[in-house]
Symmetry: D2
Subunit: 387 residues, 4 copies
């Protein structure tokens, strides 16, 4: 703990704050959102939705960060007592962000500070490290969440297009978020802890462009398998994830949107093996059965993987926010898995589709669509889990 | 055609209407909603959603009816230019109902007169027969519908609970409707003709109470297989239906809600064979696989039956307005049918669930729930059918 | 009391109802909505919103009516336990309407039967007389309303255009209602008894067409001053109203819409005095001050009249559902009355305007607009009256 | 113009941005929101809603600022193409904020950068100065607004409580905004330029606490009469405002909420004259007439002042978002002004009240309430102004 003076309150003013620094790893009353690896000091926020939550007294609170990035600068948002306050870009460097100031010192304030940007595999430097907090009050007991949900998804779960004007099409961090995102909203509404593992453009079998390397199962078992590169891997992203450290009650898998898109795209030349990859359609427009079965096989394998690491979790495949053309394929694979494994602790739930009225930017779900999905999903999970 | 005087306009008044009677079978410019058998004069309205539509000039319009019933009196509603006007009970007897009067004679008015009550199998006398119309204007061209949807369902599609206060639990015709019903709303929104074949409490395999006789496939191939008894059958209800007379573009099958309920009910003693019937659950609450497969087998058979009679129709199984616990079962059966038959012209679509805010009476979907289902289904069908 | 057999339940059926007739004036447990004169048997329903409410046990309930009309046939609606059930036209004659049947005999049902059509001054014969009820159960205690609201208005309060398609323009009873009407909705929401006194096209000073005879103050002091003619007056419509019989807590005056319209209409030749009447505008479009003051004088006089007969009522002038161009005029008059009389128990409240999205037929408020007004007015009255 | 290197794109990367600095006063294609005084370099953003708008090509855009404050740090928000992107606190110092980066260089982006915090009279140092923009593209033609609205108001128009949880009660800049504010929303919806002049707690005659110095008329004629103190006044805040430089089409006056509150507060001891000030109520709760007339006199004077400086503007007194208890008082004063001056170019419009469902923090309008007000006000202004 280091005593420092608040930089923005000058001598002679009504109140002289004595801020003290608390290293993030030393704070006991803290809730951390998102998957963690071994490194806790400074604490990497690896995924969108990763972040911290504290309840503090005192008149002000600061967060000390170190961030880096190349093309894909991270964004963050923060909220006080559950209400959205700020959202901003963080360019490379050291940051001291004031999360609140001049508040009634005695009242406890619940503060969340959350990463907006998904794990960026193609930007080795893109990262947020939380070093600690500065405050002039005390930590109170952090919220305890008895419910846990893991969300696994694609651009929808990465909140792509959740910010931005309808006509905006740039693929940039600014338009992605955890703040306007059905997963965050659902967890808040259900008072649940949650993890997000998602990547725009990826599928359960392949990416939207037929790239067979872009599938979530491939990275699921590592801490943050999505983030690779010499720099980022020093944070332990490619180490095996310790599933025992956090067992979800429900796993929401929102995958399939890119797998179905691949059926309408040109072949992909995989630089790793020099092969062409393409999901094909029959002349009548229906899915080529052989290729459809590749998706199903990937689903079945992924279900086995999820079950292996999460023996008690209910697995709910929740799909449909950008069309539901893969319903028959997903459910056929789920049925095959269920029959083969005898595992009945899974279900299929269709999320409400995005319409012209509910699009955000670049044809992705906007705020209203995320709200609709949240309403439906909360209703479903409350009944399913007896929550 | 018989000239008669309007009974409610007395001599010496500004305008003396000369109403003429037109037998229903003689009217060429008419659209008839709902399945028809051979009898056209008087025209039986056999299902909820069955009815007539005309566009007429003139200052007034009457409809001449003959109705009967024992316990389950039919209800009807009518609308002018697409707007709801009236809804009432029809007790046994002859009726002359005025559908409008004192309107601007030259303006064409589009009028729908529709049965609210589902086909009532347990009330041999329950019926509405349309004898004809009385008017002082001319028939204009009736609407032509280029889109056709067949809805097959249970109490949801029979509009049970779509009227009535939340706490009402009586099972009576008053609370059922075609007017507050996702099927009617969807057809209107899509400007489509539609047929309704539905029965409260029935399933695709068995009824909510495990009664194996209460399944829609059993009655699908007859004109109105739901209506039996010596009196009603004189209308031809048990004759084979002429599927060539009306081929739908889409068949919406909204079944499963009673099939899943049966898994939580006591056994049913079938008086026809003296056997006990019960869909069982495993000790862990999951569905007994043997019994689940009975439902699946029924689904598969029904899909074959639907395809046989409707070779070009897209079959959309649309389920979920009262929970979606049978999703895995329905889709497994659909996958099996698809694999076995090679028929790919079918899909599964989940309808939005009914919540505490959207219930009508006796825990059935209320108006808001039917509206939500309509929005989702229209969005789906527009994309699916390129409508 | 006369024992009669239910006409629609035949011998040999499970249950043989013994219906008994109760004259309306003999029923003690009844609530009557709307102004009443001396005649109680049969009971005339003089205004839209006039009607009866009872709570009964038994399996069925009928209402016996006598109705008449020339051009303007009355419509009625009925509800069970607060939920809308039916709405229909009543042509001249005797009627026995079944309000419910085959319901659980022991459960009490709350039933409202209400007139939809406003008092029709230009149809001497237009009337509904309630003779009595037939039932096989018992009357339970009728609802007691401790709050009372009187609504005084024009076509908006007569529910003109609350039914009908947007493009419909006929001026006929079918399109008017008390069922889709902010006044009924407000009273229901606040659990209040209410009276409606309204007439389409009328104002506080003159009618929309400058007819100086069409003002509500002129008829306010008689039982139903709106209804004149040799036949209808036999019901006592032109007798002085006994204000002591029903003192409202709040008087909602929703007048002004026709008064402002008159400023844009051609002169009216009053056949009674041969004079031309016209409310004028200045060349710049503003209201001619002299004519504006005529409206203000009428408002002031009306306020004195209301206060005279309702010494304790709060008078809330609630205006704006079809534009608020008369705000400055109404409030100037109210200020003058307040200053002159010292009476401070009055207020001005602007109701939400009707927009393209919320119009009903012939450019009048539709259901959504009445709902918006209800929400605003209930919020206002709850705060104002501490309800 | 100075060429500088972007700090966050390193050598060897795909694209090397050459950012150039443009002083704010040198940019011709710019739209400035909010009142301005003489100082244009750096440009002070004096009010909430003050800010700049440009349309630029290029891949990135930065804004260079200098800010200061003591207790009340300014907040800002920014949007791209009309969509909200970021919102943050600005502590004292020099700032380079990146507004976007890595966007398609050729596409023009419309960017608004807006002050959230109202003019803070009690924080002499609180200020935002815009020095210039850095970009690698070109300025395109800035939006031209042919409609102009001036909003004059209190805490509602300062967006107090538009951010924050319902239970939050601290009075701090974080909870105030121009981004969630009916005035900004209305101007956007109507595609209008707008000025905001507002102060929380102030009225047309006195503040909520009876402080007679806290009235908007007192400061209206100076550039930013709200901001006083030796430091801030160097920006010219207390100089006479040049009304000719910007003539509004409509002036929306949303005052009265604090004036009515004062009637329920203890007396205020004015340190300037040592007198006690209190607006009184009569024993029956009604307003003391003498004190009510003080408010009316202030309204009348203010209307004269507004008219003097804005000869052609329509003056719409728009009131009611936190109750409408002053309706009779405001309109009486407006009537007196109208009669006395002959000026008819004014109107009274009641805004929708805030309800339990639409409150933001510390019992002020939340987002939904501001949206409701926007819908009503836009509808009103479109009709009134023929927009």
């Amino acid at each position: 703990m280091v005593l420092i003076g608040s930089t923005d309150l000058k001598e002679g003013k009504k109140r002289m704050s004595q801020l003290r620094f608390e290293a993030i790893s030393e704070i006991k009353d803290i809730h951390i959102f998102g998957r963690m690896g071994r490194q806790r000091q400074p604490l990497p926020l690896l995924f969108n939705g990763s972040g911290i939550e504290v309840v503090v007294t005192g008149s002000e609170l600061w967060i000390d960060l170190e961030t880096d990035s190349d093309m894909h600068e991270p964004w963050v948002y923060y909220e006080i007592n559950g209400a959205f306050m700020g959202r901003q870009m963080l360019l490379p460097g050291e940051h001291r962000l004031c999360l609140f100031r001049n508040m009634s010192p005695d009242a406890p304030k619940r503060v969340r500070f959350i990463r907006e940007l998904q794990a960026m595999g193609d930007d080795d430097r893109s990262r947020i490290l939380v070093k600690g907090l500065e405050l002039d009050g005390e930590f109170k007991e952090a919220p305890k969440y008895t419910r846990r949900i893991e969300f696994i998804g694609d651009s929808i779960t990465s909140g792509e297009g959740s910010y931005g004007a309808t006509e905006d099409v740039d693929w940039i961090p600014m338009y992605m978020s955890a703040s306007v995102n059905y997963s965050t909203m659902t967890a808040k509404e259900l008072n649940a802890d949650y993890h997000l593992i998602s990547q725009g453009g990826w599928g359960v079998y392949c990416g939207w462009d037929n790239d067979p390397r872009h599938n979530l199962p491939k990275v699921y078992e590592r801490v943050c398998g999505l983030s690779n590169g010499p720099t980022i891997e020093k944070l332990g992203t490619q180490e095996p994830y310790d599933f025992d450290s956090w067992q979800p009650d429900v796993i929401v898998v929102n995958l399939g949107t890119n797998d179905i898109t691949a059926f309408s795209q040109p072949p992909f030349l995989n630089p790793e093996d020099g092969q062409l990859y393409q999901q094909r359609r029959n002349p009548d427009g229906s899915l080529n059965r052989e290729d459809e079965l590749k998706v199903e096989k990937a689903i079945i394998s992924f279900l086995y993987m999820l079950r292996k690491h999460n023996p008690r979790a209910h697995i709910a495949w929740c799909y449909g926010m950008l069309g539901c053309d893969l319903n028959m394929t997903i459910t056929e694979a789920m049925a095959a898995y269920r029959e083969e494994s005898g595992d009945k602790n899974l279900s299929f739930f269709q999320l409400p589709n995005t319409t012209m009225e509910t699009f955000g930017s670049h044809m992705h779900p906007g705020k209203k669509s995320h709200e609709n999905a949240t309403t439906a999903l909360c209703n479903y999970l409350r009944q399913l889990m007896n929550w």
